[in-house]
């Protein structure tokens, strides 16, 4: 589904991605992990075209995405921070995003799942962080797209919503969708991820399943395994 | 028999009547027209006697230097055209008690050395020139060394394009006790020009679109002009080297353009300027040397400069005038000596009136720092009304450095004078 070749990205003097190659096949959940500043978000944003790479190419379904925008119709994206125009209501925001995307949307189910009905006519500026994140999730999953990118989807969610979110993700996976997730919650990764892509110093340090990673590091626990990678690197 | 007698008596009375009428005609009125006994105006004039009337009927008369030296009255019927064919003068008059009315006098000669005019009047008195239309004139009415004449209800125009190639509408030289009123003058060099004219009155004229001045005084004392309107002239009125001129109830409008002004005062003494309206002139009053002038109840509205002083100025009093929305109320580049501003209304005044007596509690300073700067560097005018200029004006107002400390109106009015 996605082929990334020789991807370079610098922010000023800071090299964030350094000749990164990555291929993500269709179907399954990919967890993109790595320490802070390893380039997870940059990688995701490069795929979405929000960050313009210095070098390299990104292909989505065999077509380069650089300076393109139409392909984003096939991607659902959940941004890290949910902040919306303060004076629009939830309903208007949903209508607006629907308006921007020329495809079918099924927001009703999601709205009732997260119990957002009472908030539909409230202004976004008056919502709590958690509620905003729920709105954010609704906006992401209401479209039927082949690729779903989630950047820290659990931020600010209460346990019940978290369970709902996991449920949605599983459902999408079953439909054969490709899902990219960045998160710091390892339990979530263990629970749902099919494959792990571990970024370190702007490159891919490891790519494989959770068990492969445990095997490679000799740890039974994912958190420890990851800690080991990072600490070994430091030595 | 009876019949015969009747016829004879009828014939006789007819004869007497005819005789009476023809005597009347020969003594008092001569008609001029193409088919009349007199078709030539000069011949008619020559044939007339003092007190006679020459009635010129409608027609187009080509003439040159019509000369009048008798007390006669020339009256046009239905505006006959008296065409000077661009040769010298149309009328040359040297007579007392004459009148000239109802004529359409056109095309006097043009010259760079001689002042050819539609009507030249010299050394005459008690005359009246009225209801004429003078077109394509070089000079219109040129009156010299004359007294007690009146010029009224005439329309004088030309198609002047530059100062050198055009003359004045009503030009008086060395005259006294004249009246010029209700005339319309346009497209001339000066609408009305007075040189060495005394004790004369100019009123209710409308002088517009003249190349130089609407009205021009040179060395003319004790004159009075009022209720005139000066619109879109090179400059409205120029009063130069004259004393005791009264200027009241005139309108100076839109004398607008580079170096243009409503009223120019040059070396003037003892004048009264009252109840005039100055609106949208580049400079409402340009003062180049003036002493003992009283400005009262004038309204200065939307002029570039309301009063611009470029020469010495002594003992002038500005009392109860309205200064409204002028770019500059007052500007000067010499010392302003012993002039007084009192109880004027200034639209730029931003003071307060706590005791509610209609008079602002803090003095107003009519000279702004920016007007001082513009005087020195005219190009800075492009910064007019910019925030920076407001800031420097304000700081100057708070602590005057460049503008004279004592030049203030200590009793600025809160409301304009109606």
């Amino acid at each position: 589904m996605i082929q990334i070749k020789n991807l370079h990205k610098r922010f000023g003097k800071l090299v964030v991605l350094d000749s990164l190659d990555l291929e993500i096949k269709t179907g399954g959940i990919f967890a993109i992990l790595g320490p802070n500043g390893s380039g997870k978000t940059t990688l995701i944003k490069s795929i979405l075209g929000m960050v313009i790479p210095n070098k390299g190419d990104i292909k989505f379904k065999q077509k380069s995405v650089l300076q393109q925008w139409g392909y984003r119709n096939q991607i659902n994206y959940l941004p890290q921070i949910a902040n919306f125009p303060a004076n629009l209501t939830v309903n208007e925001l949903i209508e607006m995003v629907k308006n921007l995307r020329p495809k079918q949307a099924g927001e009703q189910e999601l709205i009732s799942l997260f119990g957002l009905e009472p908030f539909l006519n409230k202004k976004l500026g008056n919502l709590s962080g958690g509620t905003k994140q729920k709105v954010n999730i609704v906006l992401t999953f209401m479209f039927d797209s082949e690729l779903i990118i989630l950047d820290e989807p659990t931020t600010g969610l209460d346990p019940i919503s978290l369970i709902s979110l996991k449920m949605i993700i599983q459902k999408e996976k079953e439909k054969g969708k490709t899902i990219l997730i960045t998160t710091h919650i390892m339990s979530l990764v263990e629970e749902i991820a099919d494959k792990i892509v571990f970024l370190l110093d702007g490159n891919i340090y490891f790519k494989g399943s959770v068990s492969e990673l445990k095997e490679k590091t000799g740890q039974d626990d994912l958190e420890h395994a990851i800690a080991k990678i990072i600490s070994r690197k430091d030595v | 028999m009876i019949n015969e007698i009747f016829i004879i008596s009828l014939k006789r009375s007819f004869f007497i009547l005819t005789l009476f009428l023809s005597v009347n005609i020969f003594a008092q009125q001569i008609e001029v027209c193409e088919t009349c006994e007199f078709s030539d105006i000069q011949t008619a004039i020559d044939s007339s006697k003092n007190g006679g009337i020459i009635l010129i009927k409608k027609g187009h008369y080509k003439v040159k230097n019509l000369t009048i030296t008798k007390s006669i009255h020339i009256i046009g019927e239905d505006l006959p055209i008296i065409d000077g064919q661009f040769k010298e003068y149309v009328f040359k008059i040297n007579a007392n008690d004459f009148s000239l009315e109802g004529l359409n006098i056109i095309n006097p000669g043009q010259s760079y050395t001689k002042d050819f005019a539609a009507v030249l009047v010299s050394k005459s008195k008690n005359f009246s020139i009225k209801n004429n239309i003078l077109e394509k004139v070089f000079f219109g009415l040129l009156i010299e060394k004359s007294r007690y004449g009146s010029i009224s209800n005439n329309e004088v125009s030309s198609d002047g394009v530059d100062e050198a190639g055009s003359g004045n509408g009503v030009h008086l030289w060395n005259c006294s006790n004249m009246k010029v009123y209700n005339n319309e003058l346009y497209n001339l060099r000066d609408g009305i020009y007075f040189e060495f004219v005394k004790k004369s009155e100019i009123y209710e004229n409308y002088s517009h679109h003249n190349i130089r001045y609407g009205l021009h005084f040179m060395f003319s004392n004790n004159n009075n002009y009022h209720h005139n309107k000066f619109y879109k002239n090179g400059a409205g009125v120029a009063v130069m080297f004259s004393k005791f001129i009264e200027m009241r109830h005139n309108k100076f409008l839109e004398n607008w353009g580079s170096a243009s002004y409503g009223l120019l005062l040059k070396e003037i003494y003892d004048a009264e300027i009252e109840n005039n309206l100055f609106e949208q002139n580049t400079i409402a009053i340009n003062v180049d040397g003036s002493t003992r002038i009283n400005y009262k109840n004038n309204t200065f509205s939307r002029n570039g400069w309301a009063v611009k002083v470029v020469g010495a100025c002594y003992e002038n009093i500005f009392f109860q005038n309205n200064f409204m929305n002028n770019a500059f109320d007052l500007s000067y580049n010499s010392k302003i000596n012993s002039n007084k501003f009192d109880k004027n209304y200034w639209s730029d005044y931003s003071g307060y009136d706590l005791d509610k007596d209609g008079i602002g509690d803090i003095p107003y300073r009519p000279v702004k720092l920016f007007s001082y700067i513009v005087n020195r560097t005219p190009e800075t005018i492009v910064l007019l009304r910019s925030l920076f200029v407001d800031i420097i004006n304000f700081s100057e107002k708070v602590s005057p450095v460049f503008t004279p400390d004592n030049l203030t109106d200590n009793q600025p009015l809160m409301y304009m004078i109606q």
Binding site: F11, N87 | R385, L387
Partner: protein
């Protein structure tokens, strides 16, 4: 683009600040007209305010909107829309809503006062036109500054500095220069210097209709020629249009390489 425009316009039209801005102009219009009773004077006072205030408000609104809607913009960027359309939509949304506040805020009192019967209608329309131009110009300029500065505080600082420079400092330097090089012919220089500052240009444009044309004629032939004819008016408006086009063009160019 029109979808984005529509929603950011809705959003702004419901913001408290739009109302404050609208009510400010409304109050100003009523106070000027009904306390003064003189449309001509009101137009001049308004000019002073519009020339200074619209650029300031445009700048502040532009920068604030950009930084405040940053996350939302990111959400939009992930949608299948061209980047330039998102920003053009937002840009137009702000500019139009600010212009609407201005036009309605001042228009209502003037119409109530009987503007249509007054001869000042042309001056007044020109005033609103110039105000609209300044809104569009300064929102575009502030967007440029915001796009070039990730740091909100810095961006805000630069934007205010830009306003201060164009509204005050520029004229100060200009004036000093004119006074200092007094003996040289300066009219061409002044003319060009005016063109390089949209605030000065707008001011001149209004003054041409109010009172300056003949005053400028007082100085030199170049001024007289330029400002005495319709050429000055036409050219000034043309350059104001350029003042919108250039920042918008740069904004779009900057966008192509910008990371979010």
């Amino acid at each position: 683009m029109f979808k984005i425009l529509k929603y950011s316009f809705y959003d702004l039209m419901r913001s408290r600040w739009s109302y404050v801005y609208f009510i400010f102009y409304l109050a100003l219009g009523f106070i000027l007209l009904f306390l003064n009773n003189d449309v001509n004077k009101a137009v001049i006072t308004l000019m002073n305010i519009i020339i200074v205030l619209t650029p300031l408000i445009g700048t502040v609104f532009g920068v604030m909107y950009y930084y405040n809607s940053k996350e939302f913009t990111e959400l939009l960027l992930a949608q299948p829309i061209k980047r330039s359309k998102i920003f053009m939509g937002q840009y137009l949304g702000i500019s139009i809503s600010l212009t609407l506040s201005l036009v309605l805020g001042l228009g209502i009192p003037f119409v109530a006062y009987g503007l249509f019967r007054s001869s000042a209608i042309f001056d007044f329309s020109l005033l609103l036109l110039v105000g609209a131009f300044l809104n569009f110009i300064f929102v575009a300029l502030s967007f440029n500054i915001a796009l070039s500065n990730e740091n909100k505080i810095k961006g805000f600082g630069y934007a205010i500095l830009m306003w201060l420079f164009l509204a005050v400092i520029y004229d100060g330097v200009f004036l000093t220069f004119l006074v200092f090089f007094n003996e040289y012919p300066l009219d061409k220089f002044s003319l060009i210097a005016t063109m390089f500052n949209p605030i000065d240009l707008s001011r001149i444009l209004i003054l041409l209709k109010l009172d300056i044309s003949a005053l400028l004629g007082y100085t030199g032939a170049v001024f007289r020629k330029f400002f005495g004819t319709n050429l000055g008016m036409t050219l000034s408006i043309f350059i104001l249009v350029l003042w919108i086009i250039f920042p918008v063009w740069r904004m779009n160019r900057k966008l192509k390489k910008k990371d979010f």
